[in-house]
Symmetry: C2
Subunit: 226 residues, 2 copies
């Protein structure tokens, strides 16, 4: 990139970081635990989130923001869970940023929420650089994508707090090598928690929900607010 | 985006377009037909390209450039075909641009080639804006990604010359709805050729190779050079 672009980009990222920090302070004050989901298109973010919202809303106040370049299909799918959902349409922009999140929250009473999920645009590259004020970032990879994705997209795996391996019910059909995938994840971030899930079977969902609970408790956010 | 970013971005795209045009002139003069492949990570670009290179090199001089953020794994896989392959490592940049392609060609005698493939970074968003000087752009989507990807990432499907639906051998396992996928593609670009392929069966590969031949002949590139 030419130097002027680098300078402008650094300026944009700095402003984003500032806004993200103020969002996080707002989330903390309201006692809402915020989790973002990132992955390539079609890794199963929306499917997982729909099931997660359905499960969690029996005991907690949950909501979701969902980013896409076009259409509100994901918001419609997520709304079937019964949880409040808002779509962020980014046009040609390849990631969410803190300002889009702030705008999407307009008029929402955060004090009424325990957990807010933010589903990013499907993209394993660009979302890595943009802090959204979330407390935890979760990266998803499907067994169908191949075991080597973490080595090839290290930045996003390095910035995540957990990795979910999705579509595990298809593992045999695609000769998925679990050990190789985990080794690939660990080569980027040795201690990253890895959870295997499937939307077709209950396998993994309970473990994912336990991870969310434990992480939320560790962050101490929900305990404070409610 | 703030106005200054928009201006700088437009400047970058304009410079890229200029360089891409001069690359295309160079490809035309050398009689090499250039095809780029774009898709989300794990859609099967490398797998398809490896088989395509193996098949085509029996009758043509073929080569490939392959872009990734990190690692030369894809170049290693493609080199098994016996065709000359070069890796472009982009670092944190989420797409190839014309300058990266130009640099990667350094020292290569284009006159000896009939067909050059360029495999872009796995990303359904950012590569859409960057002309690489290619004669044809092909977008891939795997049946495992869901039928709605074209509606959600319209720009890349709108800029493509063909859409390949990959991993068709998994269609039943994921309840893939072919009609819905084709309708989704056609909602973006009504006349876009759609070809179904699978790396596990010969199904589709012959049709894809025929499309390449026909498109190359229509472009009139190879006929001129050799």
């Amino acid at each position: 990139m030419i130097p002027r672009i680098v300078e402008v980009r650094q300026n944009v990222l700095r402003k984003n970081d500032e806004l993200a920090r103020s969002l996080r302070t707002r989330f903390d004050a309201a006692g809402v635990f915020v989790v973002s989901l990132v992955s390539s298109p079609g890794s199963g973010k929306t499917e997982l989130l729909q099931r997660t919202l359905s499960e969690m809303r029996t005991t907690k106040q949950v909501a979701a923001l969902v980013g896409d370049l076009a259409t509100d299909r994901d918001a419609q799918r997520l709304a079937r869970s019964g949880a409040p959902v808002r779509q962020i349409t980014t046009g040609t922009v390849c990631h969410l940023d803190a300002q889009m999140v702030e705008r999407a929250l307009d008029g929402w009473d955060l004090d009424t929420l325990n957990v807010l999920f933010i589903e990013n645009v499907g993209n394993l590259v660009c979302p890595a650089s943009y802090d959204l004020g979330e407390h935890a970032r979760v990266v998803l990879m499907a067994v169908t994508e191949g075991e080597d994705k973490p080595r090839k997209y290290p930045t996003i795996f390095n910035s995540a707090d957990a990795a979910l391996i999705t579509k595990i019910d298809l593992a045999d059909a695609v000769d998925f090598n679990r050990d190789e995938a985990v080794a690939s994840i660990r080569s980027v971030q040795p201690e990253l928690p890895v959870i295997e899930v499937s939307s077709r079977t209950p396998s993994g969902l309970a473990k994912w929900l336990r991870w969310l609970d434990a992480t939320m408790n560790r962050a101490g956010v929900a305990a404070r607010g409610h």
